[in-house]
């Protein structure tokens, strides 16, 4: 092959590679447009005021996102209450205390936990966690917000542990040595020096875990009971935004108000996860700057 032809091939492939990069931008833009154009049609028929302030999600007549939004927030918050302390303490154990052999054993276990499909975790919510909660609290069935929170905590844990561990590992050794040299013991160093120094990374970990919990569909669909009313507490059945889309999209006629409504709640979910991920991203960058 002559040089000229080789150079032409080189230039061609360079453009092919570049095109794939541009398509990723187009993909994000496409998802954004799809959600917002369809939401626009929805707000043609239903006033935004009713959408944000009403208290009922009753397709065909009443479209208020409030019950779904409260449900989503409740379940996600609950999952963070469980997963954040467990995740950060586990990360601290892995990076500061665990002997290398234990680390070698634990890290693949956490990756295994991340690999379990969400539908299998939802299944356990039905057959194991649900009956357990019903027994403990003496309620008729255990398909409620607490069940969803426990399962989502399990699903968010691998993300939180992995990123927190990276953050704790990224704290320079000199910080720890300085603290130990000043007479602080191992624990004082961990809790007062290492963890505070890793804080931006820990916040990033929490945010990414929260993003995962907010967007999870199958586990909450299966385990939370799906009652579309504003919940009063963790023992009430709830129905998240994701579960609502999953239940109703399959049956709704094409391009009706109900159809557009599902895109409108998806658009709001999209914005929420975008903000949560953006905050996580911001803190991850802070950490990089801090240690650079």
């Amino acid at each position: 092959m002559n040089t000229k032809k080789r150079e032409q091939i080189d230039a061609l492939f360079k453009n092919v590679f570049k095109a794939t990069g541009l398509i990723t931008i187009a993909l994000l833009a496409g998802i954004f447009l799809m959600l917002f154009i369809n939401s626009f049609f929805f707000f043609f028929n239903v006033s935004p005021l009713d959408f944000f302030t009403g208290s009922q999600w009753d397709p065909e007549t009443k479209y208020s996102i409030l019950p779904l939004l409260v449900s989503t927030s409740l379940v996600a918050m609950g999952s963070m209450i469980i997963a954040v302390p467990l995740g950060i303490l586990t990360a601290a154990y892995l990076s500061e205390l665990a002997p290398p052999k234990v680390q070698m054993f634990l890290k693949p276990m956490i990756e295994m936990l991340a690999a379990i499909p969400s539908v299998a975790i939802g299944f356990l919510g039905i057959v194991l966690v649900g009956p357990g909660l019903a027994h403990i609290f003496g309620i008729q069935n255990g398909l409620n917000a607490l069940n969803g929170s426990i399962l989502l905590a399990v699903m968010a844990l691998p993300t939180i542990v992995t990123i927190s561990e990276d953050a704790i590992n990224a704290v320079p050794k000199s910080h720890r040595e300085a603290s130990l040299a000043l007479g602080a013991n191992k624990w004082e160093t961990l809790f007062r020096v290492t963890i505070p120094a890793a804080l931006p990374g820990l916040i990033a970990a929490i945010m990414l875990g929260l993003g995962r919990a907010l967007g999870e569909t199958m586990t909450v669909l299966m385990a939370t009971g799906n009652a579309a009313a504003i919940p009063k507490g963790f023992l009430d059945s709830v129905r998240t935004i994701t579960a609502t889309i999953a239940i109703e999209m399959g049956e709704v006629p094409y391009q009706t108000t109900h159809y557009f409504a599902l895109f409108a709640i998806a658009a709001l979910l999209f914005l929420i996860t975008l903000v949560v991920n953006f905050i996580g991203e911001y803190f991850a960058n802070q950490l990089r700057k801090f240690h650079a």
Binding site: K14, T24, M34, T90, I116, G215, T242
Partner: protein, 282 residues
């Protein structure tokens, strides 16, 4: 002094206890599913069709559906994702455009899977008229997998030392040839690890295929890309929530969960092995 010892013990207990709890979650999940699921496993369970309104018989169409679906996802997402990673690592200079591409990829990775399902419905099923089919579902899962494949591939490419690229470029080899003959072969194990892990996630996904082509029952296995299909995760969902004899099909649901988790774990173990082998060779 004694108080200090007590505090130390308490700290140990808190950190070790948390770690133990996390392991316990995994243990309970696996123990509950496997202990009740293994008894359903048999050759018949894997190799026959469901019968008697899903209350008896096997999983064959769901297993075949999941395998074909993952295959379509691979065909679409791997070349695309690897090409994009090559652009980012080998060509792109720091610029506004590069930053926008990277920001897009990060955001795509954070979008909930159900929204990918909606996008697949709007784009593949409706706009491109592919209908509810295994092709639409596979492409949707491909889009979902894309950011992960790009990120892991780029990590693998980053680990290849620049001296290798410079050596071939100095010999007058073009950049594409360098990538094809030097960079990619050297990065292959790393890329493969990322691809297999991503596909194992895709195989277990349910939300993106709900509206793009999955069906509760089909009465024949076909390799046609325009047909609806059965998939293991959806099968488990239907058996455990929508079936009209839920208690009766519980053993089948446990069996399905066992098969699904085993498939995902086998893929993970292969990925760990490739990564381990690659590390020990260096």
């Amino acid at each position: 002094m004694n108080k200090k010892k007590l505090r130390n013990a308490f700290n140990w207990f808190v950190l070790g206890g948390s770690t133990f709890m996390v392991c316990l979650f995994l243990g309970v999940i696996l123990w509950d599913i496997f202990s009740k699921g293994f008894s359903s496993l048999s050759w018949n369970f894997i190799a026959t069709f469901p019968t008697d309104g899903m209350t008896k018989g096997g999983l064959l169409p769901a297993i075949v559906g999941t395998v074909l679906l993952t295959f379509i996802t691979t065909l679409f997402a791997v070349p695309f994702g690897v090409a994009c990673a090559i652009y980012l690592n080998e060509y792109a200079r720091p610029s506004i455009l590069t930053n926008i591409i990277r920001a897009s990829i990060r955001n795509l990775a954070g979008i909930p899977s159900i929204i990918y399902g909606l996008f697949g419905l709007a784009l593949f099923v409706q706009a491109l008229q592919l209908g509810t089919s295994i092709l639409s579902a596979g492409l949707t899962l491909g889009l979902l997998s894309l950011p992960y494949i790009i990120t892991t591939t780029e990590e693998a490419l980053k680990r290849i030392p620049n001296s290798l690229r410079e050596a071939t470029l100095a010999l007058g080899v073009t950049q594409v040839e360098t990538i094809k003959d030097v960079v990619l072969p050297k990065a292959l194990p790393g890329i493969l690890t990322g691809v297999i892990l991503t596909l194992s996630r895709a195989a277990g996904e349910t939300a993106p295929i709900l509206f793009t082509g999955v069906a509760f029952y089909i009465n024949g296995v076909s390799a046609a890309a325009n047909q609806e299909f059965m998939a293991l995760p959806y099968h488990l969902y239907m058996l455990s929530t929508q079936h009209n004899a839920i208690e009766q099909v519980r053993p089948l649901a446990y069996g399905t969960a066992t098969v699904l988790i085993l498939i995902v774990f086998i893929m993970n173990i292969i990925a760990f092995y490739v990564r381990f082998k690659n590390r020990t060779q260096d």
